[in-house]
């Protein structure tokens, strides 16, 4: 029975590269996929593209391609990635330029786009924002980007045309992995059970190191060996959609039913109804069996027909945030830091700030249950506030800094920052309003 091997080269836009290169060298892969887009990444990339029409793709694209292209060519491994972000065409041109510079020949590079639906939304201002229930026009003229989570269509088209490197904009994360399965294993687009199984494998792989012990490890009952040298995972999938996940021997990390179970449910709501553009995947009966150390069989995924809509992430300008931090240590430090926070709060209120948050890092910033202040050796006051201009946002850090000479005793180590807030909401778009498109460059 035919099977293919697909590796996971990145779990987020800024991920490490050596584990991906090791997969290329030793993973005996057919495909290596890099998942590089979080919810907001495209909105930020769109902002970059507006400033420079040749930018707006993943900032590590050049670095990755310089290392990946020669190895991929040598090992006959195809590369699929959403590193195109807001500008897959520019990413394709840049990749071709790098291939030429490196002397990597006979390479067909594809750009998959059509996910940018900002224009289509102009006439659809009544679409309901999923998070708030408000109509889209409630965001006024602040819209910056709108990208539909496309499915496998564009990638499939590129694969059929013989592309070696495929750079997409927004597609669903599992689609990066599902497309080569459909193409290589001859699945029909209506075989939803198989698409569900393929989506399951894609979902397990899409966060790279999170399957092999990253974001899992602790020093109690979940020790992960050589975590510093974490290996990224790959999957082998056969025509039925079943398969296993594993990693290259000799790398750090661990793949076990426990690491797989955590990743299975990562960012999943109802496990029986995981909505993707290609199918509604059903993970509710999935099982993991250990075949050998770090080689786990994945069973019982399935799927159903998808909905008629694409989910669209809408990025919009949402004001500015300013932040300042200062540390207090030694006797009664929690109380001195609280006092400092009250001082900044009062002063910001005087400046007209309305949304202000003060918290003590090391005491109550992430925990729902603050500890005993007496036993805490040091804390860091963090003040953050939302406002309408960058100039106002800078005042937050400035006010924290003035605590040096005007605040409680012994404050030190001030840091400050201010930036625009780009927020993201979602709407549903009928599928016929977004058309996947593909362009190619041969070099």
């Amino acid at each position: 029975m035919k099977s293919i091997r697909i590796g996971s080269g990145a779990g987020y836009g800024g991920d490490r590269l050596e584990p991906a290169l090791l997969l290329l060298e030793k993973g005996n892969l057919d495909y290596l996929c890099f998942e590089c887009l979080a919810e907001r990444t495209i909105a930020l990339a769109q902002k970059e593209k507006k400033a420079n029409p040749e930018k707006g793709y993943n900032p590590l694209l050049e670095y990755r391609m310089r290392e990946v292209l020669p190895l991929a060519k040598q090992t006959q491994t195809k590369i699929i990635s959403n590193m195109g972000a807001a500008n897959p065409l520019a990413a394709m041109r840049k990749t071709a330029e790098i291939a030429q510079y490196l002397g990597v020949k006979d390479l067909k590079i594809a750009a998959v786009f059509g996910d940018d639906v900002l224009d289509q939304l102009t006439d659809l201002q009544d679409l309901k924002i999923l998070e708030t229930g408000e109509p889209l026009h409630s965001l006024g003229n602040t819209l910056l980007s709108a990208n539909a989570y496309l499915g496998v269509d564009g990638i499939l088209q590129a694969l059929k045309s013989g592309a070696d490197v495929i750079l997409t904009g927004r597609v669903s994360d599992p689609a990066l992995f599902l497309a080569p399965m459909i193409y290589e294993l001859g699945w029909d687009r209506s075989e939803y059970e198989k698409l569900g199984k393929g989506t399951l494998i894609g979902h397990l792989l899409e966060c790279a190191g999170q399957l092999s012990g990253g974001y899992f490890a602790d020093l109690q009952q979940k020790f992960v060996p050589e975590l510093w040298d974490l290996g990224f995972p790959f999957a082998q999938v056969d025509e039925t959609g079943d398969g296993f996940v594993s990693k290259v021997a000799g790398t750090g990390g661990r793949i076990t039913p426990a690491t797989c179970s955590e990743q299975l449910l990562y960012e999943i709501h109802d496990p029986a109804n995981y909505l993707t553009p290609d199918c509604i995947a059903d993970f509710s009966r999935v099982e993991f069996k250990t075949w050998e150390e770090n080689k786990i069989q994945v069973k019982n995924g399935t799927g159903k027909k998808p909905t008629e809509f694409y989910k669209v992430s809408v990025g919009y300008r949402n004001g500015y945030s300013g932040e300042g931090q200062i540390s207090y240590g030694g006797y009664d430090c929690v109380n001195r830091a609280k006092w400092a926070g009250e001082i900044v709060q009062k002063r910001l209120e005087k400046w007209g700030f309305e949304e202000i948050k003060t918290e003590l890092i090391g005491y109550n910033s992430i925990t729902p249950f603050p500890g005993n202040p007496e036993s805490i050796p040091e804390v860091r006051l963090r003040v953050v506030a939302k406002t309408t201009t960058l100039e106002m946002a800078r005042k937050v850090g400035q006010e924290v800094e003035t605590l040096y000479t005007n605040g409680p005793a012994g404050g030190g180590g001030v840091s400050q920052s201010a930036d625009e807030i780009i927020s993201v909401v979602s709407v549903l778009l009928p599928k016929d309003l977004a058309k996947p498109q593909v362009e190619y460059l041969n070099c």
């Binding site: 179970s261 955590e262 948050k357 729902p368 780009i422 927020s423 909401v425």
Partner: protein, 100 residues
């Protein structure tokens, strides 16, 4: 007994929704955890961090529960003023919960 002695957990985020998986180390403890760690108890334990409802899904074959926490991310990762905007640390705090 604390939950962390018999189970592990991972937090994920989407928009303003957080989800925490809770997975027993040993299948023999699944029924106990399923009975004791209800959606209501999780909501109560995490206090005012979770403004909306909490739903629970069961995956007995994996010894796993999946808690979905609505309005739990201060408006969402892309607008929150929190230090830990994704609230990735929630799983560790869930595991501090006593079984009874």
């Amino acid at each position: 007994m604390l939950l962390r002695e018999i189970a592990h957990a991972r937090t994920g985020d989407k928009g303003n929704i957080s989800n925490i998986s809770l997975i027993v180390f040993d299948q023999k403890n699944y029924e106990l955890v399923r009975k004791r760690i209800t959606a209501d108890r999780v909501k109560e334990w995490l206090g005012n961090m979770v403004k909306g409802e909490v739903l629970r899904y069961e995956l007995p074959q994996l010894g796993a529960l999946n808690f979905v926490l609505y309005q739990a991310l201060d408006g969402g990762v892309t607008r929150s003023l929190q230090l830990d905007k994704h609230r990735k640390s929630l799983s560790s705090y869930l595991l501090e919960m006593p079984l009874v």
